[in-house]
Symmetry: C2
Subunit: 86 residues, 2 copies
């Protein structure tokens, strides 16, 4: 499964476009975000991607959020994993 | 549809319990959050609610995020609306 990493500074429209693009290709995409700003940015990008996908007459996308342990610079941090499916 | 409002200071476990409880009763719940802290808290509460629901052998829950205009203290703010369904 293709994994996208979203940060609080990720630009919304390109991130949404990447989500929509991977959904288009694979039907599913996994997104990792660490911290409130990154999680917020991810949710907004998914909401925009949803509009893109739905405007094209596709089935609505669904999100399954969960926790994930990620290693960043040698330290383990708890982040959020979003599975986004068509 | 029952609407829960989540703030950045909402306690996670009671919020998750409320989400799981409304899902149990109605099969669907709508959650509103304004700001990165509140959106982050909502996603974490949904992830915890998901564990509660799945531990009970229920179908996994799905989230549909979108934008919503909310009036707070007479001002219009853009927030995130989460539709959570079993």
């Amino acid at each position: 499964m293709e994994i996208l990493r979203v940060a609080s500074r990720s630009n919304l429209n390109p991130t949404a476009g990447a989500i929509a693009s991977v959904l288009e290709e694979n039907g599913v995409v996994e997104i990792h975000a660490i911290g409130a700003g990154a999680v917020n940015q991810t949710v907004k990008a998914i909401a925009i991607a949803r509009r893109m996908v739905e405007e094209e007459g596709k089935a609505p996308i669904k999100v399954i959020p969960g926790f994930i342990e990620l290693e960043i610079d040698g330290k383990t941090k708890t982040g959020i994993r979003f599975i986004v499916e068509r």
